[in-house]
């Protein structure tokens, strides 16, 4: 579904953010990507979704390179950033319609999906208001709804639980499980190790741009907690 092959990224200021990263995310995988601040998580995510260009390595979505056919790849995925800056001068529904128009989602389908998720996140009554009046959590919820509007195959989430209230965080977790149970794949970064441990079947740990562990959750953690394993690996690797 999603394959990262020997991906490296060096910024213009000379900083090597990621070095020779290899990852494979299969259908139905709920894949957590963890690491310290500045380890290279967001760089990797931004390269997958096409925000950041890169010279070395390749990223394939359904076997197609994001460099060669970015439009096809972007149609398969949905991305939710950690701090979504949305168009403040649009109303919530105008923003959702813009994203649905970009994905060419028919009217009936978008109405069904938006209604479902807006109800789930208790955002329906706010959708006719301007985004400028939304709180951080509401913007996050709106970004999640916009990500689901075209029924993507892969979800790429950067710190998806930041700013969400407990009920919304629970709904997002349920949505993620349901999404993967229906054959979708999720690749997300998080600092909340308990959530990653409970939710995910696969995990990758990155330190200073290099992968230091990757595999099934049980194989990585064994009898220890993910927190212990993470601290052990990042301090001694």
């Amino acid at each position: 579904m999603l394959e990262i092959i020997n991906f490296s990224k060096v910024y213009r200021n000379g900083k090597q953010a990621v070095k020779g990263l290899n990852l494979t995310i299969e259908e139905g995988d709920l894949f957590a990507f963890i690491g310290h601040n500045g380890a290279g998580k967001t760089t990797t995510i931004k390269a997958i979704v096409g925000i950041l260009d890169f010279e070395e390595g390749d990223i394939l979505i359904k076997g197609v390179s994001v460099k060669k056919d970015p439009i096809f790849c972007k149609k398969q995925i949905a991305y939710i950033p950690d701090n979504p800056d949305l168009y403040d001068n649009l109303t919530g529904i105008q923003y959702l319609n813009l994203i649905a128009d970009i994905f060419e989602v028919p009217k009936m389908q978008r109405a069904e999906i938006i209604t479902k998720y807006a109800k789930m996140f208790e955002l329906t009554s706010e959708l006719n208001n301007f985004i400028s009046s939304y709180s951080h959590g509401m913007k996050q919820k709106l970004a999640i709804i916009s990500a689901m509007v075209h029924s993507p195959k892969i979800l790429i989430l950067d710190e998806p639980f930041v700013g969400l209230d407990p009920k919304a965080a629970f709904s997002v977790k349920q949505m993620m499980k349901e999404f993967c149970a229906n054959g979708g794949s999720i690749f997300f970064s998080t600092h909340i190790l308990e959530v990653a441990e409970k939710l995910c079947n696969k995990i990758a740990i990155i330190k200073n741009g290099e992968l230091i562990a990757m595999g099934n959750m049980e194989d990585i953690t064994k009898d220890a907690s993910l927190e212990d394993v993470f601290l052990e690996l990042t301090e001694h690797a």
Binding site: V49, I51, P70, F72, L86, N97, D101, A111, N128
Partner: protein, 518 residues
Amino acid sequence: MRKTWRLVYNYLLTFIGSFISKRRNARFAVGVLFVLGIGALMVFLFTNTAIATTVKFAQLGVPELAMYSNSFMAILIILFLTVMRSALPAKTTDEQLLLSLPIKKTQIILAKSLFNYLFDFLSLLGILFPSYIVYAVINRAGIALVFRGLLITALLPLFSNALATLIAMLFQKIATSFRNFSLVQTFLILLLIGGYVLASYALNDYLVSNTDLNAVLNRFKPMKWIMTFVLNGTLLSLLWIALISIGTYVISISLRVTVFGKEVKSYRSKKNDLNFNAKAPLWSLYQKEIKYYFSVPIYVINTIFGAIMYVGLAIVLLFIKQQTIIDIMSSMNIGASGAELAFILAAGCIIITTVCTTSSAISLEGKHLWILKAHPVKVRDVFLSKILVNMTLTTIPILLVAPVLGIKYGLANIWMFVLIPFLASLVIAILGLYFNLLFPKLEWESEMQPVKQGLSVMVSLFFGFAFVILPFVLYFAFLVNRINYLWFALMLLGYFAVWVAGSYFLLLKNGKTQFERL
């Protein structure tokens, strides 16, 4: 006061940091030199004008008229600064941080205001202050006059800052009662600018038509105070100027302090039904662009006046006899038949190409750029949506004006009044976008930074002027008596068409790569 100055220093550091933190390449250095060059040129031009005016009036034996002219300029500048500051209501990103620190609200507001004041003061120092130096040197008026001029230069921005704050607060109060509050705010600011233009004309008309200087000064006190203080050091005049400047400044600071940190009331929709209408991606992007354009007052102000002036030009031409234009051209030794049409086309093209929304359109995406980059939007559609906004603003006046000019200058010539300005505008729209891709300014706190201070905006403006004027200069210099104006119009059409094709190719080829690199 120590904390206030520390905050001002902090804003200065942030301002300087925004220039030097990210870009250290040669292109950036060229950009900085370009901006500094423009600044130096402005100071040079204003100083030169001041020298010419002062020498002229000194020779006529009425040197005080030079001071009268300077005072008039000072009044116009403070009104202009007021209007510009009103169009840029203060946006803060550090409000919560500062409120959580042990600093008084008054100190915070004062620091923010002084930082703005600093820019206005420096502008006046370059524009107005040289005229006082010139006056003192030419008329041997002594150093005291220069110091008094400096004091006036320092006091006036306080008034413009204060008045702008009061106007902006009033506009915000009115606008937030409406659903599309940002559109209402833009409209109110356009009204304010219209008012400024009318007031400037009225003031100018009044001052020019009244030959009795004393009568004028007695009628229009602010000018009298400025003049009598700078010329004679009349303390009562200074008192009045200080009272008005500092008084309004204190009031504005107090009012800002009362609202600082308070939640801004925003309109809440009572509509419950949701509209799920589907549109083509390009159309949807275009609608987003149009909404954004009209919701940013400074963006509108900086770009729409060319369109308004284009209509104004048609109105003026409607009332001017064709023979008058022919006579003007004859006085320049241009007597060829139809050359007046080329003259009108030149004026029209120069005016319409000042409308360039695209030269800051990419920069204005700012933090939202991820939306366009992470979604399956064709880069071509992004470009077209931005070009279409520009063309909407120019095509409407072009289509309105063409029949009017056709009636006056021959219906058979309508095609040239439509196609030539349209193509000229299209070239600038495309190239403006390309320049913005070359010189993007994606990190900003206020829209003023990319719209007014962006390098791409300045490059587009200068390039646009040069590229439009070139064929007309060549025509009037070498071809006017050799070829029929119709042939020139056809050549012009070809010239712009080639530029459209070339620049569009450049945009899709290099511009696309630049966009992907952002």
